[in-house]
């Protein structure tokens, strides 16, 4: 970073959402004017990709586990998938009309989940760009998504405090938690301990909550 806080031509305060690749090598960020930047952390932070989009505020970003793809979600409902290898736009995904707050690649990299103010979670096939499912159930803006390790489940948190667990196989909600009615800004699956799943949430009720699946013995 230079003296004026400029990093590779970007000013401080321009980045909104960020994501790191699994191995920590690539860092992606969105900006208020819809640009997506990818930096190579191991190569001294050199910017390796800059994707321009139609200029709508970039609110969400994710990198696939293998580092090959970047997905972004925007204020105008756009969802894009870029190839980091070729630097080209692969797909502009339809379906979400309102602001997209969260995008998340499945662990296997086959699916992309996207959600936001439309209150539905859209699932897309990464290679074809086709929408394969719509998960309905939330009554408020969805702010955060996270996949479980195996890709069996998707976790979502919304502005009304509701936390939902979705089964990808069944394409349906299998659990809803309502501990708080204040916005859940971030939800994350926790590493599996033994056989039980767990997740953590943080939000406007000023606390971090931890959930652990109750097991038989």
């Amino acid at each position: 970073m230079d003296k004026e806080g400029r990093y590779n031509g970007n000013k401080a305060g321009e980045a909104w959402a960020i994501a790191l690749s699994e191995d920590g090598q690539y860092l992606g960020s969105t900006s208020y004017d819809g640009r997506i930047n990818i930096w190579d952390v191991f190569a001294n932070g050199a910017k390796i990709r800059e994707f321009e989009t139609k200029g709508s505020f970039g609110m969400a970003i994710d990198l696939s586990l293998d580092g090959r793809f970047t997905a972004s979600g925007h204020e105008n409902g756009s969802v894009y998938i870029f190839s980091n290898d070729t630097g080209r736009l692969l797909h502009s995904l339809p379906g979400l009309v309102n602001s997209v707050r969260s995008v998340a690649f499945s662990p296997g990299g086959k699916l992309l989940a996207a959600a936001g103010h439309s209150k539905v979670i859209a699932l897309y096939d990464v290679s074809s760009g086709e929408q394969v499912a719509n998960l309905l159930g939330h009554g408020a803006w969805i702010l955060s998504l996270d996949w479980s390790d195996t890709g069996e489940f998707l976790l979502s948190g919304a502005f009304d405090g509701k936390l939902k667990v979705w089964s990808i196989d069944q394409r349906a909600c299998v659990a809803t938690h309502t501990e708080t009615d204040m916005a859940l800004w971030s939800v994350k699956w926790l590493p599996k301990i033994g056989r039980s799943e767990g997740f953590a949430t943080a939000g406007a009720n000023r606390s971090i909550s931890l959930y652990r699946e109750a097991t038989g013995g």
């Binding site: 305060g13 204020e75 439309s118 009554g139 408020a140 009304d160």
Partner: protein, 381 residues
């Protein structure tokens, strides 16, 4: 191009052909004579200052020296300014013709404003900055230029803007039941049955009998409007303990949920940069925030409907303004206004702003909503 000077100083020739304007009578506090223009004693001081400035220009002109006006502006005090409005005075000389066209223009603007102010002061009339601007829009180019230079002149002459006989266009209205006592002892009865009164009409307020007032609600409804000085002075008076107002009423403010709304509230409470030399007589440090807050927006059944009327995305300007606000001393982490800070942050994260009209979806509309909130607040005390 120098504008027409309506006045010729004694003993010094001027290029103008005009005859000296008649001198007005200074209004004696006890006098009711209004046969000639009324000029308050405070105004007389400013008239003298303007005339001295112009005399100096004329002298320089005759000596074939470069003519100039010395103007003081405010610069933010170096680091650690605890108050929002700590400033240093910076003197600069604006010369004619100066070093570049820009300076020539600045001199012309200043002189023209001095001319218009002098005229108003001599006539005993009150002008608004808008009036001034429309006298010569091609010279002034933008309203903001007039605003800035009038403030700079007030600061340079060390007078309150009101003593230049300049007000922002009269905007504030008041409705209620109370009495205002004017500087000359007159009593003005404000009665709600007659509807709203322009606060500007009560220009010369000296005291307010607030014995019948339980609370005051300030509703800020001009888009991007900032309170005019008369409104601020009125509220300041209402909030200051005095003989006729031993226990000042609680003052609440209702603004839109957007950066401008919060800036307006800050203006009432802490004052503004431009009038920071007058802040003590204008601030309402005890003003309370009735709404709108983010939590007020998401209660109804239609809270998350797409295209919800009244909920607008933040513009680039909004975000820029919000970011700037977060840097103000009072709004910093651990600053005085922690609640405001949090709400600005929430606003930026949500990405939306809302006008107070959004509460019309409430049963009974925004008036009922405001009333309910007010009653809640009063009950809590």
């Amino acid at each position: 191009m120098i504008g027409h000077l309506p006045w010729a100083p004694d003993g010094v020739g001027t290029p103008s052909e005009s005859a000296p304007a008649p001198r007005p009578n200074v209004l004696d506090a006890n006098s009711t004579e209004l046969s000639s223009p009324t000029v308050r004693v405070a105004n007389q001081l400013v008239i003298s200052k303007i005339e001295n400035q112009v005399a100096a220009i004329a002298a320089e002109f005759l000596l074939q020296e470069e003519i100039s006006i010395m103007i003081k502006t405010k610069k933010a005090a170096a680091r650690s300014a605890q108050a929002d409005c700590e400033y240093e005075a910076v003197e600069s000389l604006v010369q004619f013709p100066g070093r570049a066209a820009q300076e020539t223009w600045r001199f012309t603007v200043l002189l023209r404003i001095l001319d218009l102010l002098h005229e108003a002061l001599m006539k005993g009339t009150v002008v608004s900055k808008r009036n001034i601007y429309y006298q010569d829009p091609s010279l002034f180019k933008k309203q903001a230029i007039v605003d800035r230079y009038v403030d700079a002149l007030a600061f340079t002459f060390r007078v309150q803007r009101a003593n230049l006989n300049v007000t922002a266009a009269a905007k504030g209205l008041v409705i209620g039941n109370f009495r205002v006592i004017g500087g000359n002892g007159t009593i003005l009865h404000i009665d709600s049955q007659y509807g709203a009164r322009l606060i500007n009409d009560m220009y010369d307020q000296k005291a307010i009998d607030c014995s019948g007032i339980a609370w005051v609600l300030v509703v800020e409804k001009e888009a991007k409007g900032y309170p005019d000085l008369s409104s601020r002075a009125f509220l300041h008076l209402l909030s200051t303990p005095s003989e006729l107002c031993a226990v000042p009423p609680l003052i609440f403010v209702l603004v839109d949920f957007d950066p401008d709304g919060l800036a307006i509230m800050s203006n009432y409470k802490h004052g503004s940069w431009n009038t920071s030399h007058e802040n003590a007589q204008l601030n309402v440090p005890g003003i309370r925030w009735l709404g709108l807050r983010s939590q007020d927006l998401f209660n109804g059944t239609d809270a998350y409907e797409p295209e919800r009327p009244g909920l607008l995305p933040l513009s680039k300007r909004d975000r820029k303004m919000a970011k700037k606000m977060l840097e103000k001393p009072a709004m910093r982490e651990m600053g005085r206004e922690g609640e405001w800070r949090r709400e600005v942050q929430v606003m930026m994260m949500i990405g939306f702003k809302a006008e107070m009209e959004i509460m019309d979806s409430h049963e009974g509309g925004i008036a009922k909503w405001a009333e309910d909130r007010l009653m809640d607040e009063l009950a809590r005390l």
